[in-house]
Symmetry: C2
Subunit: 379 residues, 2 copies
């Protein structure tokens, strides 16, 4: 409510004020057009450059965008005029004409999430490298905000979309049947019920490797914390866990598999539950680092000596993983790469290429720290 009010007032005031005396004046008085620009001095346009170089605006445009198509001498004159006037192409005019903005919209539930931020850096780096800018939309999983951000796409302010949310923005496909989706790529979480290319970590393989690591250290009784019937990530990681056990001919004990939604609290609760039931593993394979932290808290509280008494393994390698005691052995998500690859894929899409594969899976890297040791005989 406050929002609406604020916006209303702002807009009204803005338009009412338009005529009022401009407060930013350029040093030299320039009557034409001066009354309009609220913030900047009048910028040089392509016409100014053309006049100075003694050519037409078309030639200037070509000299800038297709240098080979103009005579050397002309190009020289234009370059010089550009430098002298300080001309920069007006991006708005260009976008309007070309019908593309060279902007990518990133829709994430929480840009502050440490899991996201490095992907963000990767996205930005690759985009910038290719001449694109990125625009962020922090939706907080609020449908209204998701819908709101669609205007960036529908108003041509962004050419493509990166989705962290795991679902299509609320408001798509509402107009009777399959509305045409803009070019987009999902990251972090695949989009359910829609064919959206996805770039992420190979959860199955990563979890398999993690489990193998525990097995290689001699563990046979390995608990999996984070069973879920709804979360795709959890399901894949559990699958990898089962595959590794099976490959090592270790029977899967259902009592060793505990539910968890990936929060620290769920990890703590699961560990406590194990003690209550008194069915104890020698190692905990946690669906992610947050869960592992919960397990560690529970074990620390019970005054166990880690990792002597129990081994713990996480997944993700989030920032605190190296600071917790014991420092967490985990699988590192190649976040930077995920971002870069996702942007690369999106830009390819924008250039009209159909993606080779619907999803790109990158390998997680095993990071060995102090939370895993050999079991049993050392107890």
């Amino acid at each position: 409510m406050y929002n609406v009010h604020a916006i209303g007032v702002a807009r009204f005031k803005g338009s009412a004020k338009r005529l009022a005396p401009r407060w930013v004046s350029k040093p030299d008085t320039r009557p034409r057009g001066a009354e309009r620009s609220v913030q900047h001095q009048k910028l040089a346009t392509i016409e100014d450059v053309a006049a100075l170089a003694g050519v037409s605006i078309a030639t200037v445009s070509r000299a800038i965008n297709e240098p080979t198509k103009v005579a050397d001498e002309t190009r020289r004159k234009v370059t010089e005029a550009v430098a002298k006037t300080g001309y920069t192409t007006n991006a708005m005019a260009r976008s309007l004409r070309m019908r593309r903005s060279n902007m990518i919209l990133i829709l994430a539930p929480d840009v502050g999430d440490p899991n996201f931020s490095n992907i963000l850096v990767g996205l930005e780096t690759e985009a910038s490298k290719r001449g694109y800018g990125v625009l962020i939309g922090n939706t907080q999983n609020d449908p209204a905000r998701e819908t709101d951000y669609l205007r960036f796409i529908s108003s041509n302010q962004a050419d493509g979309l990166i989705l962290f949310t795991g679902h299509l923005p609320y408001g798509f496909g509402h107009e009777g049947g399959e509305a045409r989706l803009p070019p987009m790529v999902a990251v972090n979480e695949p989009v359910a019920n829609a064919e959206v290319p996805f770039v992420g970590v190979d959860n199955f393989e990563g979890s398999r490797v993690a489990t193998e690591h525990l097995i290689s250290q001699g563990h046979r009784r390995i608990a999996f914390i984070g069973h879920s019937t709804s979360k795709a990530i959890n399901m894949l990681r559990e699958k990898g866990y089962r595959a590794a056990l099976q490959a090592a001919r270790i029977e899967v004990d259902p009592r060793m598999i505990l539910a968890g939604d990936g929060t620290t609290e769920s990890g703590r609760a699961a560990a406590e539950h194990m003690f209550v039931r008194d069915v104890l593993p020698s190692a905990f394979l946690c669906v992610n680092d947050a869960t592992a932290l919960g397990v560690i808290i529970s074990l620390n509280t019970r005054k166990y000596d880690l990792p002597r008494d129990f081994s713990i393994m996480g997944f993700d390698d989030i920032s605190f993983a190296s600071f917790v005691t014991p420092a967490l052995t985990t699988m590192k998500q190649p976040r930077l790469k995920i971002g870069e690859k996702a942007m690369d894929l999106l830009l390819a899409l924008l250039e009209g290429k159909r993606p080779a594969q619907p999803e790109v899976l990158l390998r997680a890297e095993l990071i060995v720290r102090n939370s895993v040791s050999r079991p049993g005989h050392e107890r």
Copy 2:
């Protein structure tokens, strides 16, 4: 001369041609233009809406932007037509005409930095609330990238600038003397040698409160880790430390003040140094949490029992502060608020208001965890 000629020709030809092609049909087969748009279907324009509503495009524009200025009945027809066509204002055309993009550029050395990300969320939230979008520029402190991002400002693609970098983007003010700066606000770190409004935490006051907290717990021998002669933040925090000691009539012992650049390693090194010299405090006031972590690592390695043997205090409340053992007592930066306030200030600037104060300082909040206890007699 060239202009005059061009205009003459244009007018003649234009009016002659205007009648002929006038692409009358709009519904189905649209051969023209189809070959151009690589990505989107043709979007509805204001003309489509106008045609459907049976009014002029000017009226449509007014119905949308200044609803009170059109008759009720007309507004109804327009609204209906908008809904039917799915019309969205083309942001590029609008920006071109209005000479403002309603976009804010955020320049940060590393968007992935956990210290930044929550400020980012605050910035985005406030911007979005006020109808602005945010665009991120990750500079990695690379002058080339900083310069590169200036085009967003100079090409009208962004109306204002938020600076995390602590310095003006490389490339400003290069054109002989004081180039006019675009509206901008610094955050996280004030900008040296330039009058840029700043929003941040009150480092002096926060540090004073932190020191007071230690004093109130009975500490008299308090070390300050993080002395610096160059970093403004460090200097302010040291000042707060000194002020608190002075107010409590505790003499400042120079041996209790150790240099540090704010990294974890510098914290570890400083603590080690104290042991080497064997001048020990009962509490460590660290310039930030990263430094505190270094101190904790050093003390843990030496097998001290924390916080019984030593108390440690940080500053910032970065994400791992609560996970480290012992959980860190620290001063929390109101990051979300900083972001919101900074954006608020910038938007005010854009509306032509001069800022009341050149800097806005927000209070840090004392977060009590487990790393501080009463000294001495409990040892």
